[in-house]
Amino acid sequence: MRVGVRVHERRVTAALLHPDGTYTADETPVRADGVEASIDRLLGRIARSAPTVSSIAFDVSDALHLSEVAPLTVVRIAPRPPVALADEPRVGDAPIIHVRGGHTTLGEELAPFDTAGFRASAAAIPPGSRVVITSVGALVNPAHELAAGEILLELGGPLSVVFSHAFASNSFATREHTAILNDALVPDAEALATALALVAGRRFPDARLSVTRNDGGRVPLSRLPAEPIHSAFSGAPVDFLGAAALCGLDDGDLVLASDHGLALGTLRAGAPAVIPRLHWKGARLSTQAAHLVPATEILLHGRTTTPRLVRVAGAPLPGWLEGGEVVETDHDLRALGAACAPLSDWALGTVGAVNAAEMAHELQAAEARVRARLAAFGALPSSVRILESQLVATTYEHARVVSVRVRGVAGDPVGGLLTGRRARHAAQR
């Protein structure tokens, strides 16, 4: 049996996906003893009724909060600093340290890293700070970010260091924003990951524990503390996945009507269509997120295939959507979506390739990395499906440089999970 758990500060909800394709739901309010105790109570009840649980997927998007207690310092590595203060994008009041360095799109050094200069500047960083390091060209060659990190290690004292090259974007600002936000989520993510692992491990020592992601998939829970940004916006995508499971949809459009409005998205091969960025408070973030947009009459007008419509009980429906077939539910779609979410992984990056053979090689290598990681997550290799595998042109950039984008999932398409048929093989051990 697979279990999906929605972790919320006021209540904890679970969906139990049984091997026969049926599902049941359970819920417990969060009392004064806290979220951890509530999850323990909920999992305890599940353990009594269904002792064989193969996997538990947590959606923690409601429980991850920004923690910005420690002072932030931003390190920007570029060939030259801005000549005018007005040209400097600020990050609140955070001090900015400029260091000479950076690499080209081919990974060659654009300017040497100013080791001595950074060593001198870094001495002024207060102990206990959060330090976000972003270097020009780091997506291709992170050497200067790593060099800065090593100098910070030499300084001693507690520092939290985040490197921008962990986030796949060829925009300096997008990587920096993502790294800063990721870093601010880490304290909550560490606490949650530890608590969830302890509680769930006690109740279900054999179950694989995972956390949902913004793309509507899931990864092992152990990944949460390192990259909470990829789980911080998973709520709507996982709701959407739960709705798709409920109406048995693998390919096509779906409108989810909830208290938050109408969300329109697309399912392809049993997983949400995904875009490589997300806008948050005016900033772009580098994370793979299910592509959900507000459904409007204009957007849906004239479609030959009417989108499936799922309505959360009590959610208002506009007049232009009334009259069609509606799947109504009063269950927590997020918990259901978490239970249904496939393991997911991506290979993203910028590579140099001069001909078709080299490009094909890069793509094959990226696919192999995705398959290997999914197997390491606990998926049967035969259950891995590559949903996207392409090279993307880099507009106005070097013709020898292309972007690689490979998406793999392990698990059955979501549309068939609730059919009740037992013939489907379990995707995960």
Binding site: M359, E397, A399
Partner: protein, 360 residues
Amino acid sequence: MRLSAEDVRHLRTGALFLACAADPEWCDEQQDRILARMEGGDTAPELLGVEEFDEDALVAAVGFVNNGLPLSELRPAGDEFVSSVELLERELGRRIEGLFPLAAANVNSMVPLLTGMQLDRPVVDADPMGRVFPLLFQSVFTLAGLPAGPLAATGPVGESAFLRVREPRRAERLVRALAEEFGGWSATALYPMTARDLARTGVLGSVSRMVRIGRILDSDASASAKHEQLRRSEGVRRIIRARVADVAGLSRPAPAGEPDHPSSVVLIEESQGRFVQLEIQNELLLLMVDGTPEAVIPDIITMLHPDDGRVASLDDLWVGNTLDLVVLPAAGQWYTPEGRRLAAPETLHSLLPDRGRAPR
């Protein structure tokens, strides 16, 4: 006239509309740099018609030429265009009285505003393209036989070069190569000429057109009202509303020496089942509906969001997205036989497997 902060914002919107940019982030940052200076007390950018200059006054184009890391990754320090303009002035021994954009679309449309504020020079309401073409020789000045140089180029590391080059095609190859060696782009000052030559050969009024278009698109009007105003004011035709069905990131090999690879996007117009194809290489080159070309570069092909008429970008070409595809005519010079030869798809190799198979 002095541009207001609202004018600058409208210009940005119009510039993105005319370019269907891949990197709107940098357009935003360029706008923010201008607005920050205005808020800081700097004199607002001045926009003048070319007729307001002395006929013998020297004017020049400024613009980024890219080949490598994008501007959003390798951000300018801020003095690169000042260096290039001053270098060009030193070598020519004359003051440049006005600056115009290398292209009246995308980020290059904003460059003369910021550089003009830094150097206290006005912006000329004209440009060499009337839109954006990927290659710098695709200009009406090439059609008129004017040289692209001498020119000055400055890179992100602060290195500069002065090129005594006349032939625009050679200028393209040399500056593009410099842009790569510089690290990704070259802040270029080029096409120095008299105001008389600019008035005779340039695309006039192209900067104010961007402000005009932006004012329509930034308004609170409905999407259909915006389409109607754009049709009446700028001759914008709404071709089709369609949904992205597939994207081929690298649909053909790249031509040698040019940035980027060609891509193809397939969209479906669902009410009548029409099949829409977009061919892209840096810009939108070709729009076909059911196999029939509806618009071909030099036509300006661009996209709007259907629900509110916001400008869409190449970033919006994701499977499932519904977009309004719109077309407007380019400057008249581009529809002459010589203009078509310089800007037609064959020139950009969108339909050809490689350079060696070009038709004769």
